[in-house]
Symmetry: C2
């Protein structure tokens, strides 16, 4: 077992100073060719690599991005990570990932943990509980200390920082409009509880589409799912009670569950019931029938978020306080599949 070799050890072995070794390895002209080559050969032989931690301490930057997301076993979030990781990697950054499990406390703990020097900046999406509480002090604190933060998807207006989002309202509007265009008149909305920012926006889009088309807005056609496990029953009841001819679901799970519930009571999708889901994931692609979705490119979101963060990190000329924060909107589009016709 050979431990990692350091500049000091090489210096001692070759009987020169640490500075000479350091400069030789960086091909400094200050060092004579003979010494330089000797040091390089020795370093290569012992497979010398500079210690990242020492470099981080010295340079005051870690070349590491901290990611805080609610969960990772989730198609959209893992897609975003994928997007972040690739851009980060291309630029010589690593990513360190922490999960909030949709818990406020864990989000706070994780951020504090990383903020003490471990990373150069954050990319994050708010936990449900944080959105519910509306308490963002941990984030403003970090920003206050001069650490850049980029938020994506689940963001908050109360925090001033760079953001990457999709136009949830518009996307929802277009999805519902497409249902209306196909002659659907009684469109249900299956969504989450209100405090999740994106859920709210999608509801707004849904409502607006109905009103713009002169369709009646019926509160009863909106169901807010709290517990995923029981949602099939709730949806089933909705389908039976009201004469629904289309469902707009804010995620894949609700969509596929709607289809199953419909099948159970003898409704055919898409003939009797059209279904559109938000978020294009793996379920929609492989479900039977395949599901029409609003694509929400996680990869692109991750790419953009990483780019924004890195740009800010590299431009930071140490004192300039521009703070011209931007919010990027990633375009969405409808992927038509079998669940609508």
């Amino acid at each position: 077992m050979k431990r990692k070799v350091t500049l000091k050890q090489i210096a001692k072995e070759l009987d020169v100073s640490i500075s000479t070794v350091s400069k030789s390895l960086r091909n400094s002209l200050e060092i004579g060719e003979e010494t330089r080559l000797k040091v390089q050969a020795f370093a290569k032989f012992y497979n010398y690599r500079p210690n990242n931690i020492a470099l981080s301490l010295k340079n005051r930057k870690t070349k590491t991005i901290g990611i805080i997301i609610p969960e990772i076993v989730h198609h959209f979030f893992s897609t975003v990570i994928n997007g972040i990781e690739h851009v980060a990697n291309e630029n010589g950054y690593s990513v360190i990932i922490c999960l909030s499990d949709d818990s406020f406390d864990k989000e706070v703990r994780n951020m504090e943990m990383l903020a003490n020097g471990s990373i150069d900046g954050f990319i994050m999406s708010l936990s449900k509980e944080t959105q519910f509480k509306g308490d963002y002090h941990h984030i403003s604190e970090v920003i206050d200390q001069g650490m850049p933060v980029v938020m994506f998807d689940r963001v908050s207006d109360e925090i001033l920082c760079d953001k990457v989002i999709i136009d949830d309202k518009l996307a929802a509007y277009e999805a519902v409009q497409s249902l209306i265009d196909k002659g659907r008149k009684k469109i249900a909305l299956v969504t989450t509880v209100d405090y999740v920012s994106v859920g709210k926006l999608r509801t707004d889009g849904y409502t607006k589409a109905l009103l713009d088309n002169g369709l009646p807005f019926n509160e009863k056609l909106i169901i807010k799912i709290e517990d995923v496990d029981t949602c099939e029953i709730i949806i089933g009841k909705l389908l039976e009670d009201k004469a629904i001819d289309a469902v707009f679901a804010v995620n894949e799970l609700f969509a596929v569950t709607s289809i199953k519930a419909a099948n159970k009571i003898g409704l055919n999708v898409p003939k009797d019931l059209a279904v559109i889901a938000f978020t294009d994931g793996i379920i929609s692609k492989y479900s039977t029938p395949t599901i029409t979705t609003v694509s929400q490119s996680g990869v692109k979101m991750g790419n953009r978020a990483a780019k924004m963060l890195i740009d800010r990190l590299e431009s930071e000329t140490e004192q300039e306080e521009d703070e011209n924060y931007t919010t990027e909107v990633i375009e969405t589009h409808l992927i038509e599949r079998e669940s609508t016709n």
Copy 2:
């Protein structure tokens, strides 16, 4: 914008030495109560937190685990990460994740990057290309330097280290046996190319189950998918040509594709064709019909892997070279759903 405060700044401000500040904050008895309380109050006011990087450098440990996996937009892998992250977090560790994209080069690059002091140990699953090449020098090198490595799922016998796996052969055997028990006689295997270790093992289990039950082994009933996009056609042809009555697929995607192919040529699942998939993921649960799977608990695997790594890290009394590596086998079980009857 208030920058992070350091011991040095506090010391200067209060006109004491750095050591006094440090000791005060750790409640050392060496320091008089008055000074101690004064320092603590000051530190609290300025929200002092020790710099992680400096601590890492001093302690020669980062409290960070490096994870190298082929991809992250993948139910199984993200589940494993979830399992790792939770155990890591409970023990005060962070996780830093790198993706190999199933590329040998990227796997090597990422490992080298992290091995230079950024992390205390690795948890990894081999990339396809690495398994194909059979070149594991980057891993042995890391181990050689005294950095613990725990491998999971896609492992190699050529590397001596702790491992967490499932008994792929046995699990496959039991899955196929269950098909046979239900009267299926002509069972096809839809698998990946051979060099992926788990694919090979699952094939072995399939073969053994057939032979043990006196069923004919027919090479033609095994199809090895290289390209996911064209697999529906290939599977469709298999179903039409041979009178298959069951499919054992090594992953969910192949299983759901088989079902779609079957439906297309008028076969009913499970009546005409039974289907079992390896890996219990989200597709199987929401497909129509739902798919019987071999559960391969990623969370449990991640938990165990993290536990093994942390145990080794914390036990390392700096010199003992036990090297009593263990391989843990996570139990699997069959989750019966609609695709078999």
